[in-house]
C-alpha cells in the first residue's frame, strides 16, 4: 500500500523511471514527481512549521535537492517518497530548531484545511494522495493516545527519544516500547486492504 498503485489503468511512469529521467536532466520528469508529491511534502512541512511561507520554501528546496542530487538516490535503499519526505522533514525540523521556538503545541491532525487543487495537472495523483492521507490518519487515530503522542512528537516536532521521555516524564524504556508498538500497529493496520 505504500508503493504507488496504478489506478484505472492509467499509463503511469514509476517514481524510479522518473528519477532515472531526472538523472538524465529531464526537467519534465521532475515536474511529474513534483505534481505527484509536492502537496504531501507541503503537508509535512506545514505540520512541522505551522507557517505557510517557510513551509513552501522548504518544499522548493526539497525538490531543488532532488534535481541537484538525483544521482545519490538509490532505490535499493528505499522508495522514492521515503527519500523525498525524509529530506522535507529534515529541512523543516532544522528550520524549526533554528527558530528555537519549540513550544508545547498541541498535536492536531486536522489543523490544516483539506484542499483538492482545482487546477491540478494530474487529478488522479491528487485524489490518490488524499486517499492515502485519510487512510493513514484513520490508522493513527486507532493507536492508543500515548503511542500516538510518542511517534508524532518525534516525527513532526523533531524531539529526540530523550526529550520525549523528559517531556512526558516517563522512563526511556517505556517510550521505546510505545514507539515500537505504534509503528508495528500502523504497519498492520495499513497492510490489510
Amino acid at each position: 500500500m505504500l508503493g504507488r498503485v496504478v489506478m484505472m489503468n492509467l499509463p503511469e511512469r514509476s517514481d524510479e523511471e522518473l528519477m532515472s529521467g531526472v538523472v538524465r536532466r529531464e526537467s519534465a520528469a521532475l515536474e511529474i514527481l513534483y505534481d505527484r508529491y509536492a502537496a504531501s511534502a507541503l503537508g509535512v512541512a506545514l505540520k512541522i512549521l505551522r507557517e505557510r511561507a517557510s513551509a513552501e520554501d522548504i518544499v522548493q528546496e526539497t525538490f531543488w535537492r532532488v534535481w541537484k542530487s538525483a544521482a545519490t538516490f538509490d532505490s535499493r535503499r528505499g522508495a522514492f517518497p521515503s527519500w523525498l519526505f525524509a529530506m522535507t522533514r529534515n529541512l523543516a525540523i532544522d528550520e524549526l530548531r533554528r527558530r528555537a521556538a519549540r513550544q508545547a503545541s498541541d498535536i492536531d491532525l486536522d489543523d490544516a484545511a483539506s484542499e483538492i487543487p482545482d487546477c491540478a495537472s494530474d487529478v488522479m495523483d491528487a485524489v490518490w494522495t488524499q486517499m492515502q492521507s485519510e487512510r493513514v490518519r484513520e490508522a493513527i487515530q486507532q493507536l492508543s493516545e500515548p503511542q500516538r503522542q510518542v511517534i508524532l512528537l518525534a516525527y513532526f516536532q523533531g524531539l529526540t527519544r530523550q526529550e520525549i521521555a523528559e517531556r512526558l516524564q516517563e522512563p526511556a524504556g517505556t517510550i521505546h516500547t510505545r514507539a515500537r508498538l505504534a509503528l508495528q500497529k500502523l504497519k498492520t493496520l495499513l497492510s490489510g486492504e
Binding site: A113, S114, I116, Y155, T160, A182
Partner: protein
Amino acid sequence: MPRENHVEEWIPFYLLGGLDAYETEMVEKHLPRCAQCRAVLEDLRGGAQALPYAARPIPPSPRVKRDLFNRVHADLRANSAASQARAIATSANWFDWLRVPSRAVALASLILLVLSIAWALSLRAQVDQLHAQVNEQRVALTLLSKPSTVTKDFQATAVQPNARGQLIADLSDHRALLVVSGLKPLPQGRVYEAWLIKGKTPVGVGTFVVDANGVGQILINAPEPLRVYQIAALTEEPEGGSALPTTSILMSSQFN
C-alpha cells in the same frame, strides 16, 4: 547504550528521526553487522514510511513550482553553455578545422548561440537579483514581526560621530537587520563591512554602500546563532570586503 550492544531499542527512533547524532552513528555502524537488528528495522519501516501521510496534503501555491522550475531551467542553460564553451576551448586544431567554410559558419552560429545563452543568463541574473531583494525584504519583515526580536542601538564612534543605526535581531536566530543613516557615502571601490565578533575573532557578515543621504541597510546571515557573538561592528573596507577589519571601527553594538 541498549543492552547487549544491540540497537533494536533505538530503531523506532532511528526511523522517526528521533536519535541524536551520536546515537544515529551507533545505529548506522551496527546495522550492517547485525541481522537481528536489521530484521527489526525492516519490520518497523513500513509503519514509519506511512507517517508523512499523517499530514493533510496541501497543494503549494503556483509560485513554488514556477520558482523551482525557473531555477531548474537556469541550471540546465548554465550547464549547456558551459559544456559548449568547453567543447570550443578543447578542440585542438581548430584553426585547421575552420578552413572548411561550412565549419566557420557553424562556429559563428555556435558563438551566436553561446552569446544568446549568456544574454538569457544575464536577464535571468537580473530576475534572480529582484527575487533576492524581495526575499530579503520578506525575511526582514518576518524578523520584525517576531516577538523574540530585540532592537539594539548601533552606536557611532568618534570617526563618524553623526552616524546612527539600529540592529534588529533575534539572538537565537542567525539573521539580523542592520539599518544605518548619517554615514558618509564612499568613493568607488570602497564599501562598509559589517562584522560579528566572537571572543577575539571578527567574522565578516556582508558589505553594503549607503545612498547620497548616508542611508543603508544589510540583512546579516551569521554562520552561528547571534547569541554566540559579543559585538557587532562596522568598518570601511575595499570592495568585496576584507578577511579581517583593516580600518577603525565606525559603529558598534554589544549583544550581552
